[in-house]
């Protein structure tokens, strides 16, 4: 019963936060003139020539609360307006770009979490030894690296020096042509998965080659957070009584670290994983822009420079929803694992 209560409370809070997010987005929207705002209501390219009627229909010259009501009704019915950068509706563009971004996140996120946990554990176990200083220094350097610059330097070396070893964009010319042809069935629209499902290994290799640099860029920059949290939580756990007890009972240091300490130290890492997702999306905007991978981040970055308001607002809304939902999942998992949370 308590557990159910906890979940209901969390979901109610989620609704409050989501309403707040729409208010922020709407506040940004009101900074524009009615003519510019009209694009947030367009469903079809033909309407572009008839901005005035849109301003009338959706009451863009009427009081703010009327506008908010009209806007939120549109958003709830799935109409986010027209994106001028890609000449599609925002919803279509979103569906088109999503798989490429998901693919990037699919390979980076596990790498960030696993390597981060590993490095954090090593660092804590060898506290204040050279290994510790070295890994911490690397993590701080990674954290301080400008994503956009690091990506460009990687391109300079692996695309320039090693002629085309790891090229930018999503697929090579030939592979792209084949993927677009009728012989190739798009199951998920993610190239690495689709190519395997179609049994085309050469496309898979090509897709992986295009993925290597973006994944490295994202990982190097995000890993510091996981490592840092893992290290401090590991240090705290290793000072606890039960770790000492386990050692006193004769368990080997390896077993104590792996079974007794690390398992308990993982809890804070689970807590920040929702936050990590949000950070990852921010990294994706830059990474996709540098490597010219046409995903969500690429689209948003171009939209921001070309005053494509609906697309930018969609970016904020999507990230808000993503963050809130991942955090809810994390919280529920957390409550399930740790009884102190749901009872406290």
């Amino acid at each position: 019963m308590n557990f159910l209560n906890y979940i209901i409370r969390r979901i109610l809070l989620l609704v409050v936060v989501l309403i707040g997010v729409t208010l922020i987005i709407f506040a940004i929207l009101t900074l524009f003139s009615p003519e510019q705002r009209a694009s947030a209501f367009i469903k079809d390219i033909k309407q572009l020539s008839d901005i005035n009627s849109i301003i009338k229909t959706y009451g863009l010259d009427r009081p703010v609360y009327v506008q908010y009501y009209n806007w939120i009704r549109q958003v709830l019915s799935g109409n986010f307006g027209w994106s001028t950068t890609v000449s599609r509706t925002v919803m279509e563009a979103f569906k088109f770009f999503l798989p490429n971004t998901v693919e990037l996140a699919l390979y980076s996120a596990p790498l960030i979490i696993l390597v981060g946990i590993w490095l954090g554990t090593i660092s804590a176990v060898h506290r204040d030894k050279p290994v510790d200083h070295f890994t911490r220094f690397l993590a701080i350097v990674g954290w301080s690296l400008p994503t956009f610059w690091f990506g460009l330097v990687l391109l300079m070396v692996f695309y320039g020096y090693f002629r085309g070893l790891f090229p930018p964009e999503i697929l090579g010319y030939k592979a792209q042509a084949y993927v677009n042809s009728a012989d190739f069935v798009r199951y998920t629209r993610m190239n690495t998965i689709d190519s395997l499902l179609n049994g085309k290994l050469w496309i898979f290799v090509d897709a992986v080659r295009h993925l290597v640099l973006p994944v490295i860029t994202l990982t190097v920059i995000q890993i510091a957070l996981v490592m840092r949290i893992m290290r401090s939580s590991m240090l705290e756990v290793m000072g606890k009584g039960y770790v000492l007890t386990a050692r006193a009972k004769g368990a080997s240091p390896k077993v104590v670290i792996k079974k007794h300490a690390r398992r308990n130290a993982l809890i804070p890492v689970v807590t920040v994983s929702g936050w990590l997702f949000a950070q990852l999306m921010a990294g994706v905007v830059i990474t996709e822009t540098i490597f010219n991978r046409k995903g969500l981040g690429w689209w948003w970055a171009h939209a921001a420079t070309q005053l494509d308001i609906p697309a930018v607002l969609m970016a904020v809304l999507f990230n808000g929803v993503l963050f809130v939902v991942t955090n809810l999942v994390v919280d529920i998992l957390y409550a399930y694992i740790d009884p102190r949370v749901r009872l406290g």
Binding site: V21, I28, L31, V141, F148, M156, G160, A303, N319
Partner: protein, 342 residues
């Protein structure tokens, strides 16, 4: 009470130092020397000072924080002496990078251009030197402002609690559920492209975390005995917050601030890189990397022909941010109560 207080019968003076634990009694019969020594010693025992000396010792001994401080100091010198190192060509607009001609092909380092020129012949050396001033301005302005807003909101929320706290913290929740970078990007789009608007948008999205940090440390300190004692002695709310709570609650926020100076400069550079920053030719590191984007890979056979265009401004960003992060990271370790005295 502060100052000399004369007790005539005992021929003694009682001096109360502001904030010391006890009083120092000094006899009037010619023990001037003793009085001085004892006051100093008593002053040294002030807990806040003792903690400060302990922390300072740790900062000086920690190689990471010393590296960070030296990096920051070097950049500080560059920023202060920018007019000497690289005299401006346009007296009225020192942040405008001088350029000779409009050729888009970058030129390698040579006489007159120690770091070469980037596309459209903007001088890279001039750009990175004056860009240091831009970086400091972004860092200090943004973090200073959000620190003040965060302290104000956090103190109100933490000290008064109740409905005020509930409302303020929900607002913080909403802001913190949006990734800083993407929200800042949207706000800059709305306000219009410029460096000032990047700073404004970073202030709008940056304050909530400070409010929350200050609030949570105030919540723990509010229940301490010395606050109850201050209340019992009749101190006003404002005085309690300012004199008793904030000095104890501010450390986590200050550590966050030192990390955030680097992070904010990095975010601002990323936004500039996307093309949301100042107009072309402004001394700003992010924009200089952005200008270099078309010259990453050299022609066949000379892959590193244009290495200087992207590498040099990038290294300036990296070391600037690294300096602040090293300092902040060391401070966080030093002030972490869980690890502090081990």
């Amino acid at each position: 009470m502060c100052g000399w207080d004369r007790r005539t019968e005992e021929q003694e003076f009682i001096y109360t130092l502001p904030g010391t634990i006890g009083t120092v009694r000094i006899r009037k019969n010619g023990m001037y020397f003793l009085k001085k020594r004892r006051i100093v010693r008593e002053f040294e025992q002030h807990p806040r000072l003792k903690e400060f000396r302990f922390s300072f010792g740790k900062i000086v001994k920690n190689p990471l924080s010393v590296t960070g401080l030296s990096l920051i100091f070097i950049f500080f010198l560059i920023a202060v002496f920018a007019p000497v190192i690289s005299p401006p060509k346009y007296e009225q607009e020192p942040f405008r990078i001088p350029h000779e001609g409009y050729s888009v092909i970058p030129n390698p380092p040579g006489p007159g251009h120690p770091f070469g020129t980037t596309t459209k012949q903007y001088d890279i050396f001039y750009g990175v030197i004056w860009g240091t001033r831009t970086a400091f301005r972004i860092g200090f302005m943004v973090v200073g402002t959000i620190l003040i807003i965060g302290i104000a909101v956090g103190s109100i929320s933490g000290y008064f609690g109740g409905i005020v706290d509930e409302i303020l913290m929900r607002v913080v929740d909403i802001f913190m559920s949006l990734p800083l970078f993407i929200l800042a990007m949207a706000i800059v789009t709305a306000l219009g492209r410029s460096l000032d608007n990047i700073m404004r948008s970073l202030i709008i999205v940056g304050w909530p975390i400070y409010a929350r940090t200050i609030r949570s440390s105030i919540l723990t300190i509010r229940e301490e005995d010395f606050i109850k004692a201050a209340k019992a002695l009749g101190s006003g709310t404002f005085k309690i917050i300012l004199k008793h709570i904030l000095p104890n609650a501010i450390y986590p926020a200050l550590i966050l601030a030192s990390l955030d100076i680097g992070a904010m400069v990095l975010t601002a550079a990323a936004l500039s890189f996307l093309g949301l920053g100042a107009q072309e030719g402004y001394a700003d590191w992010g924009q200089m990397v952005s200008l270099a984007r078309n010259y990453i890979v050299g022609p066949q056979g000379q892959p590193f022909l244009f290495w200087y265009v992207v590498t040099i401004p990038g290294l300036f960003i990296l070391f600037f941010v690294l300096g602040w992060n090293l300092l902040g990271d060391a401070l966080r370790d030093i002030f972490d109560p869980k690890l502090r005295r081990k």
